[in-house]
Point group: C2
Chain length 156, copies 2
C-alpha cells in the first residue's frame, strides 16, 4: 500500500527540516518530486515522475527530475531500486521491506513479512563487507501473467 496521507505530511516536514539543518536549498522541485514519489506505491521511473509533474510545474525539466531524485537518494529520503527493466525505479518506502518480482512482466509488488525482517545478517567477516541492510527479491509469476496462455520470453 502507498504511504498514508498523514505519513506523507510527516515525511515532507522531516525532509524540510533536514534541508534546513544541512543548508540544502529547499526548492519547489524537490518538494514536489518527493511528494510525487511518496504518493505512489508502484515504484515509478524518473520519466513517469516527470510526466506526472510537468503539468503542475510548468517548465520542469526532465534533467531536474533526475538530479532531484539523485539528491533525495543521497539524503536517504527515498530509495533507488534495481529491478528488471531498463529504467531505474524509485521507492518512497525506506523501511525494510521486500519485493515480489514477476519474471514475465517485471512488475514489483511490495511485501512485508516479519519473519523475513528478523533473520540475522549472515557472517561475512571474510569478505570484510559491512552489511547495513538487506532486501529480498522473490521471483516468480504474477497473477495476470499466470492467466495468460502465451509464454514467450521464458521457455520451459
Amino acid at each position: 500500500m502507498a504511504v498514508k496521507r498523514r505519513d506523507i505530511e510527516n515525511r515532507l516536514r522531516e525532509f524540510e527540516a533536514r534541508c534546513r539543518e544541512r543548508g540544502v536549498p529547499l526548492t519547489v522541485q524537490r518538494r514536489e518530486v518527493l511528494e510525487a514519489v511518496l504518493k505512489r506505491d508502484d515504484h515509478p521511473t524518473a520519466d513517469q515522475l516527470y510526466d506526472s509533474l510537468k503539468e503542475r510545474i510548468p517548465g520542469l525539466s526532465r534533467t531536474t527530475v533526475y538530479r532531484v531524485l539523485e539528491t533525495l537518494v543521497n539524503m536517504g529520503v527515498i530509495r533507488r531500486l534495481h529491478h528488471p527493466g531498463t529504467a531505474a525505479r524509485f521507492d518512497g518506502k525506506i523501511h525494510r521491506h521486500h519485493h515480489l518480482v514477476c519474471k514475465k512482466c517485471g512488475k514489483v509488488i511490495d511485501i512485508h513479512d516479519a519473519t523475513w525482517n528478523e533473520v540475522p545478517f549472515p557472517e561475512v567477516r571474510k569478505e570484510e563487507f559491512e552489511i547495513e541492510d538487506f532486501s529480498v527479491h522473490f521471483t516468480g509469476i504474477c497473477a495476470e501473467c499466470r492467466k495468460k496462455t502465451s509464454w514467450k520470453k521464458k521457455v520451459d
Copy 2:
C-alpha cells in the same frame, strides 16, 4: 568462487543437449558466450563479455552478444542481474545464492549461506503470486570503499 572446470564442461554439455532437444541451433557464438560467462565470477556486463570474446571470435558483433545473452537467460542457463550500475550484469551461477552489494562502488559479491537458503517462502496468497525462488541483496560498504575517506556516491 567461479564455477569449476568440471562443472563448466557439464554445463556446456547440458546446454548442448537442451539445444538439441528443443531444436535450438547450436552456434559457436552461443557456446562461447556461455563458456565465457561460466568462467567468470564477477558478474560481467554484455560489453565486458564482448571484449573478452572478440579476439577468439573474429567478426563477433556486440549485438550478437546481447542477443545470445537474452537467449541464454530465456533458456534458464544463466541469470540476468539487476543491481546498481547502468549496465545489466550476467551470472552463470543458477543455484540459489545471495549478493553483497556495495552502496558506494556497486560491486557485487556472491555469498552462500545455508540459513538464508532455507527460510521458507512468505505467505503471499493474497497477491496471487507464485514464488519460484528468491535472492537476498545485502547492502552496505565493501572493504575497499570503507578504506577510502571520501564518501560521496557510487561509481564503478
